[in-house]
C-alpha cells in the first residue's frame, strides 16, 4: 500500500504552504487596502535623491552653510554627538541590565519550581501554588508592558512629564530595554538544558540553588551575548532620540537635514555607522574572550 502524503511529511509541507500563501495574501490585501500604486514607489524628485546619496561620497567637517568657516564645526558637533550618544546608551543600559536581571529572575519559575518526582519539595506549598505563579505572571506582564511601548513613544510621554532633561532620554531608553532584557533573560534560563540542574537536585540542592548553580551559569554566555547586541540597539536608539531635542547624533542630523545640508548629514551618518561597526567588533572580541 502506498504511504499517504502525511506519513511522508506531506502534512508539514502542506501546512507550510498554507502559511506562505496566507502571508502573501495578507501582504497583497494590505497593499490594496492602503491603495498603494507601485509606480508611486519611485521618487517624485529623483534629482534630490541623487543629490542626497551623492553627498555620501563627500562628507564634510566644516560648515556647509559657511558658519564659522575656519573651524571644523561639523567635526566638533560629530564628536559631541557621538559622545552623547554613547553616554545616553551606556547610562540607560547600566540601569536596564540589573532591572532586566530582576525581571528575568522573577519572571521564571525555575528558581522556585521543584518537579523532581515530588521527592524533596523544599519550597513552601502555598508559594508554589499561588504566590510563585502570581509573581511570575505579574512580572511578565510588567515586562511586556514596558517593551510594548517603543522608546520613542516613551520619549514623547516622558518629555511631557519631565521636560527635555538628559534623565528623560535615559529613562525613555531604560524602560523598554529593561522589559526586553527581562523577557529574554527569563526565556534563556528556561531554555537551558536541565540535566546539570537535576543532578544538583539529586545532591539535595534547593530550587533557588539549582537556579543559581545549575541553570544560570549555562544561560550566562547567551545572556551576555544578547546584552552586547542590545547595547548596539541602544546606541542606535540613543542617536534617534536626538530628533526629540536630546543632544545625541540625531539632534545634529536633524539640524543639518532641515537646512538640506546633506554633506553634513552624511558626516553624522558615517559617524554613526562607524560607531556601530566599532561597537560590533568590540562586542565580538568580548564574546570571543568571555562567551566561549
Amino acid at each position: 500500500m502506498a504511504p499517504r502524503a502525511a506519513e511522508l511529511g506531506g502534512g508539514r509541507v502542506g501546512a507550510r504552504g498554507r502559511l506562505f500563501v496566507g502571508l502573501l495574501t495578507a501582504g497583497v490585501l494590505s497593499w490594496l487596502w492602503l491603495g498603494l500604486d507601485p509606480a508611486k514607489l519611485l521618487p517624485r524628485a529623483p534629482h534630490r535623491l541623487v543629490e542626497f546619496f551623492g553627498a555620501a561620497l563627500h562628507p564634510t567637517l566644516v560648515s556647509e552653510a559657511g558658519v564659522v568657516p575656519d573651524r571644523l564645526i561639523v567635526g566638533e558637533n560629530l564628536l559631541q554627538g557621538l559622545l552623547n550618544t554613547v553616554l545616553f546608551a551606556a547610562a540607560a543600559m547600566s540601569l536596564a541590565i540589573p532591572a532586566g536581571f530582576v525581571l528575568g529572575f522573577l519572571g521564571t519559575p525555575a528558581w522556585w519550581e521543584d518537579d523532581c518526582e515530588g521527592a524533596r519539595r523544599r519550597s513552601p506549598f502555598c508559594f508554589c501554588r499561588f504566590l510563585g505563579p502570581l509573581l511570575k505572571n505579574g512580572t511578565r506582564l510588567l515586562a511586556t508592558f514596558l517593551r510594548s511601548i517603543h522608546e520613542l513613544f516613551w520619549a514623547v510621554l516622558l518629555l511631557a512629564a519631565f521636560g527635555p532633561l538628559p534623565s528623560t532620554g535615559i529613562l525613555a531608553l531604560f524602560l523598554p530595554f529593561a522589559g526586553t532584557l527581562g523577557k529574554i533573560y527569563a526565556e534563556m534560563v528556561e531554555e537551558t538544558p536541565r540535566d546539570a540542574g537535576l543532578a544538583l537536585r539529586d545532591l539535595g540542592a534547593r530550587p533557588v540553588q539549582v537556579f543559581l548553580f545549575g541553570l544560570l551559569p549555562r544561560a550566562l554566555p547567551d545572556m551576555t551575548a544578547y546584552t552586547l547586541y542590545r547595547f548596539e540597539c541602544a546606541l542606535r536608539s540613543s542617536a534617534v532620540l536626538g530628533f526629540f531635542g536630546f543632544q545625541t547624533l540625531g539632534y545634529f542630523i536633524k539640524l543639518s537635514f532641515d537646512e538640506n545640508l546633506y554633506h553634513e548629514v552624511w558626516t553624522y551618518l558615517w559617524g554613526l555607522v562607524l560607531l556601530v561597526v566599532l561597537t560590533d567588533s568590540l562586542s565580538g572580541a568580548l564574546r570571543r574572550r568571555f562567551v566561549a
Binding site: 518526582e117 521527592a119 540535566d195 539535595g204
Partner: protein, 250 residues
C-alpha cells in the same frame, strides 16, 4: 518495593538487602528497572509501594530521606556537570544539600582555603588534581566521569550509587573507572551499587549481581554462583520485544 510511571510498572515486588561496605551490580536488559531501583535506593525518587530502610530507619519519613540524599553519592551515566564551571566549582557543588543559599554562594564563588584543599584531595584520589581550575567542558568523557565521582565523594557519602557509570566510555577507560570506584569503596568502606548493562564488566568487578527483568528480581547471588544460561535467559528477547525490535529496525 514498587514504582510505576503512569501505566508502566517499572519495579514490582523487589526485595533487596544490602550490607554496609558491600559492592554489587544491578544488571538487566534496557527498561528492566535498573535506574529506577537505584533512584529509589538513593531516595532520589518516590516509591509507591513498599519501603526503603537504611540503618533501621524507613526513608518514607522526610528527615531520614534528606539524610539519605546527603549521605548517598549518586553518579550519573552522562556526568551531569555544569559544563562552563571549573572542576573545583563542580566538586564544591557536592555539598549544596548541606548548605544554605549564602554559604553555598560563598563556597562556589569564593571558596576558602580548607575547602580547596579538600577538593584537591578528592580530585587527587580520582587522579585529576592537575585539572582543578579547568573548565569542565574542556575535559574528556573519562575525565568528566572522574569529576562526577569526585563531586559524589566530596559529599562524604556512606554509599555510592552509580547509574551506568561507564556506558559512554571505551573499554580501557571503563575498566579504569570501575577499578577506581572499587578501590575507593574498599578503602573507605563505602557501599557501592552499580547499574550496568555490560555483563562482563559487572562480573569482573562486582562480587554480587542482582539480575532484573521486567521490574522483577530474576536472581540475586554471588557472581561466582551465576552461570551463563541464567544470564542468557536474563537478556533473551521476549516474542513481543522481538517483533517490536524488528519493526523498529524495519
Amino acid at each position: 518495593m514498587g514504582r510505576s510511571y503512569g501505566e508502566v510498572r517499572a519495579l514490582d515486588g523487589v526485595t533487596l538487602e544490602i550490607r554496609p561496605g558491600e559492592i554489587l551490580s544491578v544488571v538487566g536488559p534496557s527498561g528492566s528497572g535498573k535506574s529506577t531501583l537505584l533512584r529509589l535506593l538513593a531516595a532520589r525518587a518516590e516509591r509507591r509501594r513498599g519501603s526503603v530502610v537504611v540503618d533501621s530507619r524507613d526513608l518514607g519519613r522526610l528527615e531520614p530521606r534528606r539524610l539519605a540524599v546527603e549521605r548517598t553519592g549518586f553518579v550519573h551515566q552522562d556526568h551531569r556537570l555544569v559544563p562552563n564551571l571549573r572542576v573545583a566549582q563542580n566538586v564544591l557543588l557536592g555539598r549544596l544539600g548541606r548548605q544554605g543559599l549564602l554559604a553555598s554562594l560563598r563556597s562556589v564563588v569564593l571558596p576558602r582555603r580548607h575547602e580547596l584543599v579538600r577538593v584537591h584531595e578528592v580530585l587527587e584520589r580520582v587522579g585529576i588534581q592537575d585539572r582543578l581550575f579547568e573548565r569542565c567542558d574542556k575535559l574528556s568523557g573519562g575525565q568528566r566521569q572522574r569529576v562526577a565521582i569526585a563531586r559524589a565523594l566530596y559529599q562524604e557519602p556512606r554509599a555510592l550509587l552509580c547509574d551506568e557509570p561507564v556506558a559512554s566510555l571505551d573499554p580501557t577507560r571503563s575498566r579504569a573507572v570501575l577499578e577506581l570506584l572499587r578501590d575507593i569503596a574498599v578503602e573507605r568502606g563505602l557501599t557501592l551499587v552499580l547499574s550496568m548493562h555490560d555483563i562482563d564488566l559487572a562480573r569482573e568487578y562486582c562480587p554480587r549481581l542482582v539480575g532484573l527483568r521486567q521490574g522483577r528480581v530474576a536472581f540475586d547471588r554471588a557472581t561466582t554462583d551465576i552461570d551463563d544460561d541464567e544470564l542468557d535467559r536474563l537478556y533473551r528477547l521476549e516474542q513481543g520485544e522481538l517483533i517490536e525490535d524488528g519493526a523498529a529496525r524495519g
